[in-house]
């Protein structure tokens, strides 16, 4: 039985941000996550660090928050935030009046913008639709969301934070009507852990209501599915947005060596049952294709869906629901923090921890905006091209992941799960989606004797099945050809047995 001051349920950006803040303010804490980090909306988003301009027209307060956080994250995350810049492109037929409104709103909020000609825009992003009228340059950035979570958690680990991933919370322990702890099941072994704390923070995003109900509370939410597609390579080096009222498919974000495009918006009930429809994929490609024509013919390597955890609202169009966040005090020792977006995670965490500090009657103030993120020295950083300097000993050739990196992650995290290696190194995130490198990564784990024969086969099967879910909606053209080859390798050459 573990005793600590604060339990954080949820290892997304918010949860990890809270862990970091608590660590810097010296508060003992324990974070529980049912999957790996960024398993929910954090891991299923564009990876876009907004300049805020996107909300300037409809929600100036949210826009201001975003912009300030954008500046902070650029400062504290020098090596993990890619300062790509962004363009809002106006296509023929897009309203000039909206452009004026957009510019005015950004100015009022204080977000720097620059109107540039179509010629200049095409110079910056050669793949842009040659028909664009003009564009507005904004300071958008991109980040790998897994990496963001891991760097935040690093601070917690360095200062004694206790972290349990792949542990599912099954019970919230109450005593005299107060939440005093949780029980969580280790998904690998079935072992039950009991952890007691003074405060429980429910930072589970789309599952907030489910978790809250374990304590007899509720968090009214609207769950809105959004899908994204990933391209084979960077079609743009800057974030591309459509200069119009927010709608489906109007963002393209360069992230590492790929682009993410999306998104869609469909209300759903169950965050654990997500299916990416081919109609969504078609819509995204079509809309993205209006901004970057090559999108219509490019190779899509993966398509996936995430759930936006939005606070319940009366508005019908979920694009309009405020992205603002809320801290709910359930008056029983548990708080829920819900809503928000990736860009403002740090601010959300700050407000949450401010609340916790107040309830403990402690005065230490937040330093997360000043201190650079820990662990950045291990990153290869940007620009991407400097990773080409050394091509030796590479296990994942698509994403340039070396054997040393893989071994280091295995040793450091003690992981038995190839998915964990994937999140931490991008192994298997490239065009072949782990076709070759998973065999190698598991082979290395076998060599290092960290898994048993039973585990090895199950892991491979489990990996292939999970991976398939993200690939299936993107299977045509080159990616279908790729997939047939990978299937041929595993089922033909390696003669993997069918699961019973």
């Amino acid at each position: 039985m573990i005793k600590t001051d604060v339990i954080i349920i949820g290892g997304g950006a918010t949860g990890c941000g809270i862990a970091r803040d608590l660590a810097l303010r010296g508060i003992p804490h324990c974070l529980i996550e049912k999957g790996d980090f960024a398993a929910g909306a954090t891991g299923a988003c564009h990876g876009l660090l907004h300049s805020g301009s996107r909300y300037a027209v409809t929600d100036p307060i949210a826009a201001r928050e975003c912009y300030e956080e954008n500046l902070i994250l650029r400062r504290i995350g020098r090596k993990c935030v890619e300062q790509t810049g962004g363009l809002f492109v106006r296509l023929p037929g897009d309203s000039k009046r909206f452009r004026e409104l957009f510019l005015r709103s950004c100015e009022e909020v204080g977000i720097p913008t620059e109107v540039i000609s179509s010629t200049r825009a095409i110079e910056l992003v050669p793949n842009l639709n040659p028909e664009i009228e003009d564009a507005i340059k904004v300071p958008d950035c991109s980040i790998d969301p897994f990496r963001l979570c891991l760097l935040n958690i690093r601070t917690s680990q360095l200062r004694g934070g206790i972290i349990f991933t792949r542990h599912k919370v099954t019970e919230i322990i109450k005593s005299h009507g107060r939440c005093t702890g949780i029980k969580a099941v280790d998904q690998a072994t079935g072992e039950v852990r009991e952890i007691h704390a003074n405060i429980i923070v429910n930072a589970t995003g789309a599952w907030a209501n489910m978790i809250a109900s374990l304590a007899g509370s509720e968090v009214p939410m609207t769950l809105v599915k959004g899908s994204l597609v990933i391209t084979n390579h960077r079609l743009t080096n800057m974030v591309i947005n459509r200069l119009r009222q927010p709608s489906d498919g109007d963002i393209i974000v360069p992230n590492e060596a790929v682009c993410l495009a999306g998104t869609t918006a469909l209300a759903i009930d169950n965050p654990d049952q997500l299916l990416t429809e081919s109609s969504e994929v078609d819509t995204i490609i079509s809309e993205a294709g209006k901004m970057i024509p090559h999108f219509n013919n490019t190779r899509i390597i993966r398509a996936f869906s995430g759930v936006r955890p939005l606070l319940k609202s009366k508005k019908a169009d979920s694009h309009e629901i405020s992205r603002g966040f809320q801290i709910i005090n359930h008056e029983n020792g548990m708080y829920s923090i819900a809503g928000g977006k990736l860009t403002t995670f740090r601010l959300m965490a700050e407000k949450m921890v401010d609340t916790i500090m107040a309830s403990f009657n402690l005065k230490k103030s937040c330093e997360t905006a000043e201190i650079p993120l820990d662990g950045q020295e291990e990153l290869s950083g940007y620009p991407l091209s400097k990773r080409l300097a050394d091509m030796k000993n590479i296990v994942c050739e698509c994403e340039l992941v070396t054997r040393q990196e893989v071994e280091r992650i295995i040793r450091q995290t003690g992981t038995r799960n190839v998915g964990d290696i994937q999140h931490r190194t991008r192994l298997g995130m490239g065009p072949c989606q782990g076709g070759f490198c998973t065999f190698r990564a598991l082979g290395i784990m076998n060599d290092m004797s960290v898994i048993s024969p039973q585990q090895s086969m199950e892991m491979l099967r489990g990996f292939l099945q999970r991976r398939y879910r993200g690939i299936r909606p993107a299977l045509w053209g080159d990616q279908l050809r790729e997939e047939q080859l990978v299937e041929y390798i595993y089922l033909g050459i390696l003669a993997m047995e069918k699961p019973e």
């Binding site: 060596a257 090559h294 091509m391 030796k392 698509c398 050809r481």
Partner: protein
């Protein structure tokens, strides 16, 4: 964006001769479509290992998806060459045309220096390998040859290339007489180095310079009704592939449409019944080593077809290995080990055929295979001329 089509099948890697023997080179897949996802026009090139690619094009011939890795790597090599200083070896070979011109003017001295120990030491100090002897310069280059114009219906402008010009003008003369014997007029248009040595040594600007001059000259002849004929398969690949391609020569397409390999041209003449050569018996047992660039020309193996018409000639075709020299590639010290290993493998396969002579269309291949095996290395045109009784003397 052809690299989108790469399905990572590794067939290109299986075919790459450099990857097989040099662990420093990551192979065409990693150097091409994999690395391209990380390259950016806005950032400095950090990929020095791209220079290890010999541009043999075997990866492109093997790729089932149309990725063209060699082209991606070629562009990366040019980028690297633009952003980093060139080694003395690179500078020397890029400007081979000028240096060879100087060499042929000062013939006995130039050859003495090149073959003397002091010359070899100097070369090695500059990063140039000396494991096979340098070809000897000739004084009487092709420039000094006369054209043959008898107002026949078929006329060609002969693009002879630097190797023939500076080292083996005797073969060039044989080819002129061969074409003339087939009733074809031959002129020698003003010409310069095709540009491939410059391209292969990271000097895109110099390559474009040569290419533009050649294109203008040849273009005039094409307009005047001449077909262009080349004999060196690397010159041919440069004219047909790189002029309209990476060198962006405006007349590139026209040049490509009107250039023929000399053997391809002769077959055309035979097929059109314009020429009816009578090949006499020639008893030789030859191993025909197919130059990598001939494979890359997509014209099949026309010289093999012609030689199959020669009675008594036993010819075994070997097209599975690269000789390793790859133009000036093997002459650089950093590639010496690669070139020797590949050359030895090619030679061992040749020895298995028990042939007495090696035949190859490319001067580079001949130098390498002849030098490493000690066997005579001939141009297919020499075999054809022997069979038709044509010599280079009057």
């Amino acid at each position: 964006m052809k690299y989108e089509h790469c399905i990572r099948c590794t067939i290109c890697v299986e075919n790459c001769p450099v990857f097989r023997v040099n662990p420093e080179f990551p192979g065409p897949k990693q150097a091409g479509p994999d690395a391209q996802r990380f390259r950016s026009d806005r950032e400095k090139a950090d990929d020095e290992w791209v220079l290890l690619c010999s541009q043999c094009k075997r990866c492109e011939m093997a790729c089932p998806c149309g990725v063209e890795p060699a082209e991606i790597i070629l562009k990366a090599q040019q980028r690297y060459g633009l952003e980093h200083s060139h080694t003395p070896a690179h500078l020397l070979f890029a400007n081979n045309y000028y240096l060879s011109a100087l060499g042929s003017l000062t013939v006995p001295i130039a050859n003495m220096i090149a073959s003397a120990e002091i010359g070899k030491k100097a070369f090695r100090a500059m990063g140039i390998s000396t494991y096979i002897p340098f070809p000897k310069f000739r004084f009487r280059t092709m420039r000094k040859e006369k054209k043959i114009l008898n107002k026949r219906t078929r006329k060609v402008a002969f693009f002879y290339g630097c190797f023939i010009n500076f080292y083996r003008p005797d073969i060039g003369r044989k080819i002129i007489r061969l074409l003339s014997a087939l009733n074809v007029d031959v002129v020698l248009p003003p010409q310069w180095c095709c540009g491939l040595p410059a391209l292969g040594n990271g000097n895109l600007a110099l390559a474009k310079y040569f290419a533009q001059k050649n294109a203008s000259s040849l273009s005039n002849y094409i307009d005047a009704g001449y077909d262009i004929v080349y004999t060196c398969t690397s010159c041919g690949l440069c004219l047909l592939h790189d002029y309209p391609g990476i060198l962006e020569i405006p007349q590139g397409k026209k040049i490509a449409e009107n250039c023929y390999d000399v053997h391809e041209y002769i077959i055309k003449l035979i097929h059109e019944e314009y020429a009816k050569p009578v090949f006499k018996e020639t008893r030789r047992r030859i191993a025909y080593h197919i130059p990598c660039h001939l494979r890359a020309l997509n014209i099949g193996y026309p010289a093999a077809k012609l030689m199959s018409l020669i009675p008594g000639l036993e010819c075994e075709i070997l097209d599975d290995t690269c000789c390793g020299l790859s133009g000036s590639y093997g002459f650089k010290k950093s590639n010496e080990s690669t070139a020797i290993q590949l050359g030895n493998r090619a030679v061992s396969l040749i020895r298995k055929t028990k042939a007495n002579d090696i035949v190859a269309d490319c001067g580079s291949c001949r130098m390498q295979l002849g030098g490493l095996s000690g066997l005579p290395a001939l141009d297919p045109a020499e075999i054809l001329c022997e069979s038709l009784g044509i010599t280079d003397q009057k």
